[in-house]
């Protein structure tokens, strides 16, 4: 854990409530996300981890009947109320999904998808960024000879890293990962974890995970959620060795959830 005292917060969540219709899924959440560190969200199934994550790039806007109050500040600007374009927000705050979801296009077209969306057309530029992104996701050596093959037949772990490469291509500032390894075997999982460690140099990462070891291995900060409430948020080391709250301790020692 670096001991930089005055790093600006990348994201600040203030008093966030979220309702699915009548059902309140998040309850007065406040927490801050430090830049270029990995923050893990843990907690039992249904506690609102994914919901919170999806608030940060406004993916919840796609669901009808969702109502949100409170603030989410990205670099000090409220993403819900400052006239920030939602497409701009999503370019800054990218997302990796639980199930790898490469598009039914070629590997190359997957990687440059976000660039084309952003209106970048020059072939040289696309090629260059595609190569860089695939390299950053440790896929270049395996895939450089079949860039124009379809992406869907790739093995799952390569699919997931392709999704990461696709994201890196648009140079996001924050990467949201919702259980990115839950569809993967242990070897592929450790590859993604190593990759996260590498990416941390340049990106702010927030990961949702059910896997306690994973949280303790990869993250700098850990937030424990329970039924829509943030119970405890602290250094990962502290959460896993000396949590303040009894509930946290019960959860990480596997007594429930």
């Amino acid at each position: 854990m670096e001991d930089n005292t005055k790093i600006n917060d990348k994201i600040e969540i203030k008093n966030l409530d979220l309702f699915y219709g009548q059902f309140q899924a998040l309850n007065a959440i406040s927490m801050t996300i430090k830049p270029k560190l990995i923050t893990a969200l843990i907690g039992p199934s249904g506690c609102g981890k994914s919901t919170l994550l999806r608030c940060l790039n406004r993916m919840n806007d796609l669901i009808r009947g969702v109502r949100i109050t409170g603030q989410v500040m990205l670099d000090g600007k409220d993403i819900y109320n400052s006239g920030m374009e939602i497409t701009e927000l999503r370019k800054k705050v990218g997302m990796v999904f639980q199930r790898p979801n490469p598009f039914p296009l070629s590997i190359y077209d997957n990687v440059v998808y976000g660039l084309r969306v952003a209106g970048i057309k020059g072939k040289n530029q696309l090629d260059e960024i595609a190569e860089m992104s695939l390299k950053s996701a440790w896929l270049w050596d395996q895939l450089k000879d079949k860039l124009h093959h379809p992406a869907l037949p790739l093995p799952l772990d390569q699919q997931q890293r392709l999704c990461i490469a696709r994201l890196l291509a648009v140079k996001p500032e924050v990467i949201l990962m919702d259980e990115p390894c839950s569809a993967l075997d242990p070897i592929s999982t450790s590859k993604i974890e190593d990759l996260m460690h590498e990416l941390k140099k340049d990106y702010t990462i927030i990961i949702v995970t059910h896997n306690m070891q994973q949280a303790s291995r990869v993250s700098d900060y850990t937030a424990f959620y329970y039924i829509g409430n943030l119970i405890e948020f602290a250094d990962t080391k502290k959460i896993f060795t000396a949590p303040d709250k009894k509930q946290t301790e019960d959860y990480i020692s596997g007594r429930f959830g």
Partner: protein
């Protein structure tokens, strides 16, 4: 028409193909037995590429009908495919689900309207409009193309909607999460992912257009001549068979069967193109 996935489109096509094959085999056999001997006796080249159709003098050149069928079908595609695909995209992506669930069955119902009704509307409404605006007889290739284009809309829209809705939500989410707008997602991803279904819908529409008879007889004017412009009157292959079969005898009757053989082969070719197009699609889980 309910199709629940890309795979569903494929399965539907293969079921249709299979049950059709046994029936077709018998019909085909009959048509070929009646038509082929004539075709070779008369000469394939003369039959297909001569413009001289005078059954009473033993002249059987069907080139004018081939040309008419081709232009009417092409026109129907130009009218029906863009409208149908645009309609499907609009309904599937930009319309509230509740509205779509009312409008889509309503559109599908249009497929059940007897073609004579379309023909009637063509004669009473469309042909006079064409006559007024562009001159000419009104009953024309253009009228046929427009009426057929409208007739194939239910097929194109319905199957295209199904294949667009069958595109997994995860693709859409992935695209939106990369900062794409809904429209970018539609044209850069959804349409491509739904391509096989959309192509299938157009080809089924083409099949319907080339095979349609009643509406075409009513609106195209039925002159046996090569249309030089969309405003010319023309007679399609199907119209020719339907109009003359009732009184044809001998060679004339055989020539009409041979026309059936030609139609048959055209449709086989269409289907082959369709299956190639569908085989070329990207694999979707």
């Amino acid at each position: 028409m309910k199709i629940f996935g890309e795979k569903g489109v494929e399965r539907l096509l293969s079921v249709v193909a299979f049950s059709a094959i046994s029936a077709l085999a018998l019909i085909a056999l009959f048509i070929f037995i009646e038509g082929l001997p004539f075709l070779f006796r008369y000469g394939v080249k003369d039959f297909l590429f001569s413009s001289d159709w005078r059954p009473e003098s033993g002249k059987f050149g069907i080139y004018p009908m081939i040309s008419a069928s081709f232009w009417v079908m092409l026109g129907a595609m130009l009218v029906g495919a863009p409208l149908g695909i645009a309609g499907a995209i609009f309904l599937a992506e930009f319309t509230p689900k509740t509205v779509m669930h009312i409008v889509k069955p309503a559109i599908e119902l249009l497929a059940a309207v007897p073609s004579v009704i379309y023909g009637f509307i063509g004669v009473v409404v469309l042909a006079p409009i064409i006559r007024e605006i562009f001159g000419g007889p009104g009953l024309s290739v253009l009228a046929g193309a427009i009426i057929l284009g409208i007739m194939i809309l239910p097929t194109v829209i319905s199957i295209s909607i199904d294949s667009i809705l069958a595109v997994p939500v995860s693709f859409r989410e992935g695209s939106l999460a990369l900062g794409a707008t809904v429209w970018q997602t539609v044209h850069m991803l959804t349409i491509k992912a739904a391509k096989s279904g959309i192509v299938a819908s157009i080809i089924l529409g083409m099949g319907r257009a080339i095979g349609e008879t009643m509406a075409v007889i009513m609106v195209t004017g039925n002159s046996v001549m090569i249309p030089n412009s969309p405003l010319d009157s023309a007679r399609t292959l199907t119209a020719n068979i339907a109009l003359e079969m009732s009184y044809a005898t001998g060679m004339h009757r055989e020539a009409l069967f041979a026309t059936g053989v030609v139609l048959f082969i055209v449709i086989i070719i269409l289907n082959s193109i369709a299956s190639v197009a569908i085989r070329k699609k990207v694999i979707v889980k």
